[in-house]
Symmetry: C2
Subunit: 295 residues, 2 copies
Amino acid sequence: MTMKIPKAAFGFTEVHRLNKGPDDAMPEKEQLIPASEFGKICRIPVSTLKYYDEIDLFKPYRRADNGYRYYSPHQIIAMSFIRVLTELGVPLSQISELESSRTPSGMLRTLHQQELELDRKLEVLRANYSVLHVHQDLIFTGMTADENAVTVEELPALPIRMGTRTNFGPDEHFYGEFARYLTSTSDNSLVYPVGGYFDSMERYLEVSDRPSLFFSVDPSGSDERPAGRYLTGYARGYYGEPGDIAKRLALYAADHNLVCKGPVYNIFLHDEICEKDPNHYLMQATVQVKQGGIS
Amino acid sequence: MTMKIPKAAFGFTEVHRLNKGPDDAMPEKEQLIPASEFGKICRIPVSTLKYYDEIDLFKPYRRADNGYRYYSPHQIIAMSFIRVLTELGVPLSQISELESSRTPSGMLRTLHQQELELDRKLEVLRANYSVLHVHQDLIFTGMTADENAVTVEELPALPIRMGTRTNFGPDEHFYGEFARYLTSTSDNSLVYPVGGYFDSMERYLEVSDRPSLFFSVDPSGSDERPAGRYLTGYARGYYGEPGDIAKRLALYAADHNLVCKGPVYNIFLHDEICEKDPNHYLMQATVQVKQGGIS
DNA sequence: TTGCTCCTCACGTCACGTGAGGTGGC
DNA sequence: TTGCTCCTCACGTCACGTGAGGTGGC
């Protein structure tokens, strides 16, 4: 019974005390771990061990007569380490390269690099997670709203990120500037739900399908819809089709002796993500109000 | 110029206002976004769009004469949403199933499920990250240690997780119990660096290759190597081969009128992860000491 | 002899990426 | 006519998983 000496790969395969005795003696029995047992110890399926063997990442000893795979105890920690790296998303090709940095200082450098890499990945995950959260919030707001009523409510500040001002051509449709906004936002930022910003209630009444600018409902945004008393209304329709909501808001304001001040914020609470019919998206328009003089 | 109406898939493909006018009129031109432009807006490679089309996950309109792909503005947010989900690791097959929960309340439930799922994933990442960190700490400790000297140092508490007591057979080798320890630790916990615990200095002197129990250097562990004054020594060798370190520690204690109290902790600072030669692993032995009576 | 374990191909899968070779629009 | 864009196969890749069919050890 002899062992084929595997090619060095990740280095974790040195021949350790295999040829201690004379005559290429068999290694001590306790030191041989069959693949299946090794897999149990390291919690790795045997198919994975075979694959790592095949691509020369992590090689076992092979018995010459039947090709059985055996691992050494000093491969247990190494295998567990590889598993940690793969679960962290490090590609196997990079793990192979660790071989060359297999000294204390080299490994310390490599681990530090990986930490930085992981910090970036975690940041991306957190950002994506945040997008889901914003969607949840908007959907929930839409579900609990009384969409037929125009109301006056105290709203908390809503962080947003504002885009540059739009520049609609004479015949241009809503979505042209919308697409421009989406492409212009900083390179690898995620797409939060987008809303329309109108300079004033007057402007909203006039061109309610052409916002002065677009904004994202981005919780890390540096702008905000400030806290305050807001006139709030809802409408159902497709993007850029707010229907008569502007008029309804204006009517309500007039009836209740309210003066609209500042911009109108237009947010789609239910869009294609949770609504099958594009003509039935739920929009929320908000504009800050104060009590008017006695008329 | 007519459009083939795509099969419903994720629902984001309803025919919206395509057949508004008489005679199957062409949709308004501004509403058609060629695949390449759509890809830029959503930051998705065209190859991915084609793939999603192929597997019926997200289908564009197709021009009947040349098969060109066109997307509608109301697919932008949906595509971005899909991208968020895929980046969070949700398989495309699950994303397809979202179709059925495409109502406000259904989507709210689904998003909540995904959040829980993500919390689990982030927890796994954090745990793996933590393993890397422990390795870094140990490697660094080994690099900055004066490995030839025996010293007395004030050490902070080190959190660990202790295993059950070992039960070595008469002729049993170190690694048998070591493997048993690794397989017995709770099912899906990760493998932190493992150390050996000896009940007392006397026992360590006697059987320094057979710890009373094994422990992991697990920062979330509920046990600890308590803070205190420790006699500390180092040795190079393979697992279960601490060499003469026990004697050197005992000698130093006798020379300096120190009394060892409590257990000996044996930790491998440099193992197969950062050291190519298995006979050269760096081990650290620590045992708490107090000043002896005047002899 | 009977299970049980191990082996080697070979092929499948998941989510795309990458040409090769050909057509269409200004 | 000349680029440029779009198309459709077909095949590659990454990290394995899954049998099919055969051998080996107690």
